[in-house]
């Protein structure tokens, strides 16, 4: 069964450093998403991406964040200058036919900012 993959599974970085989290969505999917989950808290929407551009984003997704689909398979989330409060699980998801419809989630990347 096709699945969304994410790398790395765990990333440790120092405050102020840039990080890039990588995702490979399901190959024929059209919509891509990033969510984050701070330990013990809710799964929060960050951004959705369609047709090579951001379609929606939340208040969390400020200028420190960016997304890119650099080739036909990868979908990346970049945090330019990490803060302690960016420590969280980051989940990528993708959807085939309609936005937010039957999202397939990846296993997540645990980001630890020290």
């Amino acid at each position: 069964e096709p699945e969304v993959t994410q790398t790395p599974s765990h990333q440790v970085t120092q405050m102020g450093q840039e990080v890039i989290l990588r995702c490979v969505p399901i190959s024929n999917h059209l919509y891509f998403y990033w969510y984050r989950q701070i330990l013990g808290q809710k799964v929060e929407f960050l951004v959705s991406f369609y047709n090579n551009e951001i379609s929606e984003k939340s208040e969390i997704f400020d200028d420190q964040f960016s997304v890119e689909r650099p080739d036909g398979s990868n979908f990346t989330l970049k945090i330019r200058s990490t803060k302690l409060e960016d420590s969280a699980m980051y989940f990528c998801a993708s959807t085939g036919g309609q936005v937010f419809y039957e999202q397939y989630f990846g296993p997540g990347t645990r980001l630890t900012v020290t």
Binding site: V4, F45, F105
Partner: protein
């Protein structure tokens, strides 16, 4: 904004029993989805019910929808220890929103 509100917040049952959890939502829906999250893992899509449907089955899952009350319920029959997880409802119309707190289901062997 936040997706549906699930209740109860926590549910603990014995293996073999049925588990029922409920969801209330605020905005209109086209589809309502249910997801499961095992601790620390990504969410898994379980089932989708359309606004013109009242009930839907998938294996041991049964979902009902009452659009007049803006509520849905998820029933897991003959529960197993592997069903232990958090369960969330998700209103596709609400789009870019946070998942709720969910119902944490514990199934004791």
């Amino acid at each position: 904004s936040q997706q549906g509100e699930e209740d109860p917040q926590a549910l603990s049952i014995q293996e073999g029993e049925n588990a029922t959890m409920n969801c209330s939502y605020k905005t209109s829906i086209n589809n309502l989805q249910w997801y499961r999250q095992n601790s620390g893992r990504g969410l898994v899509h379980l089932i989708l019910i359309r606004s013109n449907e009242r009930e839907k089955h998938s294996g041991r899952l049964r979902v009902t929808l009452d659009t007049s009350k803006k509520s849905s319920s998820l029933l897991i029959t003959a529960s197993r220890a592997a069903d232990t997880a958090s369960y969330f409802c998700y209103n596709t119309n609400a789009g870019k929103s946070t998942f709720g707190d969910g119902t944490t289901l514990t199934v004791k062997p």
